[in-house]
């Protein structure tokens, strides 16, 4: 039920911006990624559908979509990764051994963030964190 294309279209036009085929293609490409998607992957996916889209446009559009709040960006190992901003904020656990990515609900973090707010007066605004570590399987394998 969430995240219809119409939502995006409306949100974009709301602020006087335009809905171009490029923006739709790039938004789709980020969606298809499921989880984290790099600029390269997005560009490749877009190019598979239309040779005419330029890499600079991908960069500019991703910036734009982040500003609009439709896409979120994180940094993993020095590389930017993108993901559709979901209604339910969440975070990721990335295994340093096998690279697997697990999703983690925001709830637990919110508890911590509230605690920080009470103790320090600092309001944390992180919709998307990436935590590195070792997944269950790799921990077993290491023993």
């Amino acid at each position: 039920m969430p995240h219809q294309k119409l939502d995006y279209a409306a949100k974009i036009r709301e602020c006087g911006c335009r809905l171009t085929p490029q923006r739709e293609l790039i938004l789709d490409a980020v969606c298809e990624g499921g989880g984290h998607t790099t600029v390269d992957e997005i560009f490749a996916r877009v190019r598979a559908r239309s040779k005419a889209v330029n890499l600079a446009t991908v960069y500019r559009t991703l910036d734009f979509l982040c500003d609009m709040g439709l896409v979120v960006c994180a940094e993993i190992d020095g590389h930017r990764v993108f993901e559709i901003a979901s209604a339910r904020p969440h975070h990721h656990l990335v295994c340093q051994a096998c690279g697997r990515v697990e999703r983690l609900d925001h709830e637990m973090f919110q508890t911590l963030f509230n605690q920080i707010e009470r103790q320090r007066g600092f309001k944390v605004e992180m919709k998307h964190l990436v935590l590195f570590g070792l997944c269950q399987d790799c921990r077993n394998r290491e023993d």
Copy 2:
């Protein structure tokens, strides 16, 4: 009482590596930063003392010091930042409005990380997180 230069020297030599003037200068420069320091800042600080040190050496040395565990590295807003690895792991709160950086003890995080480990079997290995948000002062100012 911790982190004497001798500690560093010993740790470095322990593994057959060498303690060079460059490495000392760069380590000092990271120390002087107090909190997060960018490559540029480190390079500038080093150059203020010795014109002969090369930027490539700074990069190589920072890599080396991170591998040795003497320095930790984080990513803020697409830029790498470095800090002396302290005995007591901690994190940072960065205000998106004024840029102020506050230190946050690891304790609260450990509770969360333990919870994640129990629930998901995933062992988080983050010694150093950067959380963005709004500090007390800026929140008051915004109202």
